[in-house]
Symmetry: C2
Subunit: 252 residues, 2 copies
DNA sequence: TCTCCAATAATTGTCAACAATTTATGTTGA
DNA sequence: TCAACATAAATTGTTGACAATTATTGGAGA
């Protein structure tokens, strides 16, 4: 039985934001049943409770969420639109298994867009003040890493990048980076060698420092390196996932 | 009665690509019923047969597409995910009415991302050759404009920007620009003064020339100006749509 | 022992019906 | 004449059932 519900997880002790809770705090629109299912599956994928290639059988999800198949199908089709799952007609929904090309494209866009973001950030007048919450976030990220709280660490690590976009206040950019970070998490879950996690909070801190100093070029170089490092840590996506079980057993 | 089906329109004489037909030609995945409804509504919005604020009643769409409400709801929820329509709980789906903030955000991102694209384009080795289809596209755009074929003109005008991204071969970028262009079309439909259409194909041609010459700065300046011009042509989004009927009668 | 094929089981695609909510209409009273 | 309220109509949210497709199982024949 899949363990999907995340409310009871001990991962929230550090108050790491869920991956799905990135929307504006002012968004007062009521969350529908579909949104609930969408968010829970999304979080499960981000937290790696659901791994790439996993089959998402509608009937199973109905039981988990105590709802009808229609709700599940709606949520799945939206997840497919966001490239979190892939729907194969008449075969069902599977957690996205990024291939080499997709991996390259996502990382290339992350580098391009995040460097672009940095350029816009250093141009802000009161950037130093606005950076303070980010420093706090990095501190929590470090704490999560040291505690071995992997789920909180992943969440905070992603949130860092989205939060940088938040400082610019452009909702379109925020959404784009959110989507890119989510897909990156999936890529890492599929390709990265487990255990070999570098402590990215140091690099995050470095990037913040350079922004605060108004050093656009330095910040961009650091970000570029940070992301390139992450991409290269993938074990040659051409050869498929590291963990052979991912390729064999999950997708039935 | 809404006139939605676009197959019979005379707009296709110039072979302008439909707004929804931007996907890779290699995408062989079978289009489902939901995709058909999604694409047709999408095209109707892009062609301005459906204007911002229009109520999309599920039962009406069922009759138009001869399908069940389930299909329609699925398509609408995906259109909502792409910010083409807005779903108000228990009230229904409406074609998106962009506000001033959203308009600003979309244009800001278009400027940033398209300039970024140009930077990457001039770095390509064989850019001159690859630009040829684009020149052809601009020629057709000019023809459509001179014929007064507004629908083809809008389609080709958008396709130009997406096609530039296509040259880079990054599917993530392509999708982002497609989404941004679609939203821009909606913004223009809502705010722009009709009749006051500048002949953008000249500016498109100019941008191509500068890329071909390897003049990144010049191309970016032209693109920046092109988009800023377009944004400023909006009649002060703070004051709502130009055509008062849009604000009053459509949204019931 | 292996491949091919048929029968069965499981899963997805589609639809129509019912419940909940919102919108429109008509009436009353000041 | 207008606002407030009650009633009726229209629309959306949700569910379960049936048809179509795919996956699995088991057995026959080489």
């Amino acid at each position: 039985m899949l363990y999907l519900h995340s409310n009871s997880a001990s991962a929230d002790t550090l108050e790491a934001p869920k991956a799905s809770s990135w929307r504006s705090a002012y968004d007062t629109s009521p969350r529908s049943e579909v949104d609930r299912v969408y968010d829970d599956i999304f979080d499960a994928v981000m937290d790696r409770r659901l791994l790439p290639g996993a089959k998402l059988t509608e009937a199973t999800l109905c039981k988990i969420f105590s709802c009808s198949r229609n709700i599940v199908r709606m949520a799945l089709s939206q997840l497919a639109h966001d490239k979190i799952v892939v729907i194969e007609p008449n075969r069902g929904a599977f957690v996205w298994q990024p291939n080499a090309k997709e991996t390259r494209d996502v990382f290339e866009m992350r580098r391009a867009m995040e460097c672009m973001t940095l350029d816009m950030l250093v141009a802000l007048p009161d950037i130093q003040t606005r950076l303070l919450p980010l420093y706090d976030m990095v501190a929590r990220e470090r704490k999560a890493f040291e505690c071995g709280d992997r789920i909180s660490w992943i969440r905070l690590s992603n949130a860092f990048h989205v939060e940088l976009a938040h400082l610019l206040g452009n909702d379109v950019l925020i959404e784009m980076l959110h989507s890119l970070c989510a897909r990156t998490t999936l890529i890492i879950a599929y390709y990265d060698t487990p255990g070999q996690s570098t402590c990215s909070y140091l690099e995050h801190q470095d990037i913040l420092d350079r922004i605060a100093q108004g050093d656009a070029a330095g910040a961009k170089a650091a970000m570029h390196h940070h992301l390139e490092d992450c991409e290269h840590r993938m074990n040659d996506p051409e050869k498929g996932p590291v963990d052979p079980w991912l390729a064999i057993s999950i997708k039935r």
